[in-house]
């Protein structure tokens, strides 16, 4: 196991390097640059800006400097758009926000989704099953960019219960709507996945054997069926967890939460090279980390798996 983790981490380094190089190259290949505007800047002004941000150097050299600062100082460089902020400032401010609402949304998605899926599978073709499937399909077809404004309309304008947006350091009333909006469709996917995987397990031989031995229904489901049924769900949850804690552009856009999600999209559109690289590295690192965690969980859940 230890060897496996070590091996995974060693593979992670070249993977990250390829990710950084590819992002850097693609970013610079895209037409325009951070200082292109509708009214072009005079040449001297543009030259000063490019000199300040090192864009006048050859591309290979820019890449070398970037990597060097990253490795030696953990320095992601300056933002090209937010002139008095560094990329590290932006990540340090935005990431805790998305980590908070993403974490809670994840908890909600699995703590509602999994029981819903299990209930639907156990009571297949009953009213409970139809209800659960109905709810999860409903949640799936209601994307969060539709849901977010509706939530604000209901809870802010009509009922007056919750503020329509903002974050205020993560006070509970500001967290509720982003969590609902972000978790719903993931919850639906988790429920449907759990249901179908559970159904398959419930029809397998070892469950029949367990029942034949006279074990009661609850014990069969929770002790014997749930763990193997979770395998496909867990492999789905690894990347989902990363996607949730690195935020959602939609959530930030509609709720003004100030999270890191919006910077990913906005940085690409405004060619903020610094922020784009920084956020890509953040998401890439987390993805590698959590797929490793998922693999370890696999071994724990399914003793047949050996590394």
């Amino acid at each position: 196991m230890f060897q496996f983790i070590l091996r995974r981490l060693l593979i992670a380094l070249p993977t990250l390097f390829i990710l950084i190089a590819a992002t850097f190259l693609l970013m610079h290949l895209a037409p325009g640059g951070p200082f292109t505007t509708e009214k072009p800047l005079p040449d001297e002004v543009m030259a000063n800006l490019e000199a300040k941000y090192g864009l006048d150097e050859p591309l290979a050299r820019q890449f070398g400097t970037y990597l060097f600062d990253l490795v030696t100082d953990f320095d992601f460089g300056p933002s090209f758009v937010f002139k008095d902020l560094s990329v590290r400032d932006i990540i340090l401010q935005g990431f805790p926000v998305t980590l908070t609402y993403g974490f809670w949304a994840f908890i909600v998605a699995i703590s509602v989704g999994i029981p819903l899926g299990v209930a639907a599978a156990v009571h297949q073709n009953s009213w409970l099953d139809y209800l659960a499937v109905g709810v999860s399909i409903g949640a799936q077809v209601l994307p969060n960019f539709v849901m977010a404004p509706i939530l604000v309309l209901i809870f802010t304008l009509w009922l007056g219960w919750l503020p329509g947006g903002g974050w205020q350091g993560g006070q509970i009333e500001y967290v509720i709507m982003p969590v609902i909006a972000l978790s719903t469709s993931f919850m639906a996917s988790v429920a449907r996945m759990t249901r179908s995987s559970m159904l398959e397990i419930l029809h397998s031989n070892f469950i029949r054997t367990a029942r034949a031995k006279g074990l009661n229904g609850t014990s069969v489901i929770w002790r014997h069926a749930l763990k193997p049924a979770m395998l496909p769900v867990i492999s789905f949850l690894g990347p989902v967890f990363v996607a949730m804690i690195t935020g959602s552009m939609i959530i930030d856009y509609y709720f003004g939460t100030g999270g890191i999600g919006q910077f990913f999209t906005n940085a690409a559109l405004s060619r903020d090279y610094g922020v784009m690289m920084g956020v890509t590295i953040l998401v890439g690192t987390l993805t590698i980390l959590f797929t490793t965690v998922v693999d370890i969980l696999y071994a724990w859940i399914d003793p047949r798996i050996r590394y």
Partner: protein
């Protein structure tokens, strides 16, 4: 909507204010003002600022030599008075002695010298450094280009309270340029001590009516009254909060739920309904921007576009009323001139096709296109129309291409690009027709009409006309009456159809009735929180 990146102010608005008089209202006990911001401003550093959202905050935090009153007219700021001794080439500003920084230091002429040198210093790399070049401040261009050290800039402190500015050409409106962020003073000791971090809320030292209290990136910022401001006794609003909401619909919902006192940017097409429902809260004001289609007349464009008849036909066939009243619905006006109708001093010429009915224009357009050898019986004219991603650009492009297809049998291919790619294509003439918008940098017609001169960098269509070049050159040196020249340029532009004006912008916004002092007729939308107050219900 294009970004108002260069929402500069060179000439003060001549607008007249229409707000209620303060004496008639009782003040609310709670003097807090909350408004919506569409997006995070890039910086609060006056010399690095480059957009109108940042400027709206900087105006409260810092004060330049001059400022604008409720009417948009020029009033003293840190300077109490100013004069020019040699025909607008050298300006002397006398500074007030009671102006203080928020740490208690006095604001002196040296602070301005430091700030202005900083603006042109290549090391600062301000994308607004050109503003000092436009103002003709001596040696600004050379310093920006790196050919001279920043201390050679034509600005000097005669003593602590007298600032002298030397210009390389006479600029009669120079004092009004000093209201803009780039020329505001900054606190040298703070910047030298803290570097880029000096703009953080706990660090910033400023000299305006407000100081920065809080700033959370992409969420909100707040500013509170500065007790050391020289005119603090007359500042009524205690706290101003700007909350960032990207989505227009959510912003409207939150305004209606009472979360904001002022809402800029209404959802597309909602203005007529809102005006109907909340007549005392909904406003539409002219905004100095023109929406137009660029016609590529360079070699890379469709050769048919070199024919003036084709260009005219394309323009005549566009029913601007449909676009303004049925697509946009935001108080805009159909445009037949490039210069915005509300531009100060602009005398709109009688543009022939503007006076016709749409049916007459359509008939004329059909004639012209047939004469040019196209139309339903001739060759099919095929055009590539490019626009950048936006619901309204798309809707307008759809409607116009439909009009061209039905009336002129023109086959249009619509191509949609994200912003930066679009800019790249437009500036490299990779299109036949491109959507565009132009916002005035200052309130005078030349800010629009310079664009159609032959060697202008922003003339993406490469339209050229010798007479226009001549008129614009002569008007700049006041050799001929500028306003007459502008009218003639518009006349030529309409005859030659160098570009297709589509509509003149308006800005629509809502504000609660209790919020008073809003400069409702200022076409530059320069508001200062120190002029606002909340009336008691």
């Amino acid at each position: 909507m294009p970004k108002l990146r260069y929402f500069g102010l060179v000439i003060a608005a001549t607008a007249v204010l229409g707000c209620g008089s303060m004496a008639a209202d009782h003040l609310d006990e709670n003097q807090e003002f909350t408004y919506r911001l569409l997006d995070q401003f890039p910086s609060l550093d006056p010399q690095l600022n480059e957009d109108s959202a940042g400027f709206s905050v900087i105006r409260d935090l810092f004060e330049g030599l001059t400022t604008q009153d409720e009417n948009g007219d020029l009033t003293p700021g840190v300077a109490t008075d100013w004069s020019s001794v040699d025909g607008n080439r050298t300006w002397i500003f006398n500074l007030r002695k009671d102006a203080k920084w928020s740490n208690g230091d006095s604001v002196t002429a040296h602070d301005f010298v430091y700030a202005w040198r900083r603006a042109v210093d290549p090391e600062t790399a301000s994308s607004y450094s050109w503003y000092l070049e436009v103002g003709q401040i001596k040696n600004a261009g050379e310093i920006i280009a790196g050919d001279m050290p920043p201390d050679q800039l034509g600005v000097s402190a005669l003593d602590d309270y007298r600032l002298q500015v030397q210009l390389s050409a006479p600029v009669p409106f120079f004092p009004s340029m000093t209201t803009y962020a780039t020329l505001m003073p900054v606190h040298q000791a703070t910047i030298e001590r803290l570097g880029d971090e000096w703009t953080r809320p706990s660090h910033m030292v400023s000299n305006g009516a407000y100081v920065l209290q809080d700033l959370v990136l992409a969420e909100y910022h707040s500013r509170i009254k500065n007790p050391l401001y020289w005119d603090a006794d007359n500042v009524i609003i205690e706290k101003v909060t700007g909350i960032i909401v990207n989505d227009d619909n959510t912003a409207l919902t939150r305004y209606l739920a009472g979360e904001f006192d002022h809402l800029d940017g209404l959802p597309a097409g909602q203005y007529p309904n809102l005006k109907d429902k909340y007549p005392d809260q909904t406003f539409s004001m002219p905004l100095l921007c023109t929406y137009y289609y660029v016609i590529n007349q360079s070699e890379s464009g469709n050769p048919a576009l070199d024919d003036v008849r084709v260009r005219q036909a394309l323009s005549y066939a566009i029913d601007r009323d449909v676009i303004v009243n049925q697509v946009l619905k935001g108080g805009q006006r159909g445009a037949y001139s490039f210069t915005h109708w509300a531009t100060s001093g602009f005398d709109m010429p009688d543009i022939g096709y503007a006076t016709l009915s749409q049916a007459e224009r359509d008939a004329k357009a059909k004639e012209l296109i047939v004469e040019a050898g196209f139309g339903s019986n001739g060759d099919a004219l095929e055009l590539r129309l490019i626009y950048n991603t936006s619901e309204s650009h798309k809707a307008i492009a759809n409607v116009i291409s439909q009009m061209w297809k039905e009336k002129l049998a023109v086959r249009v291919t619509l191509e949609n690009f994200e912003w930066k790619t679009f800019l790249d294509k437009a500036s490299n003439q990779d299109f036949d027709i491109a959507r565009s918008g132009w916002c005035g940098d200052y309130n005078e017609a030349s800010t629009f009409l310079q664009l159609v001169t032959s060697d202008n960098d922003f003339n993406d269509g490469k339209f050229t006309n010798a007479r226009i070049d001549e008129l614009m050159a002569k008007s700049a040196t006041s050799e001929i009456d500028p306003q007459k020249a502008y009218s003639e340029v518009e006349q030529i532009l309409a005859d030659e159809m160098g570009l297709i004006p589509i509509y003149h912008y308006s800005q629509v916004f809502m504000k609660v009735p209790a919020l008073k002092g809003w400069p409702l007729n200022n076409v530059e939308n320069n508001w200062y929180s120190k002029n606002l107050y909340m009336a008691a219900p």
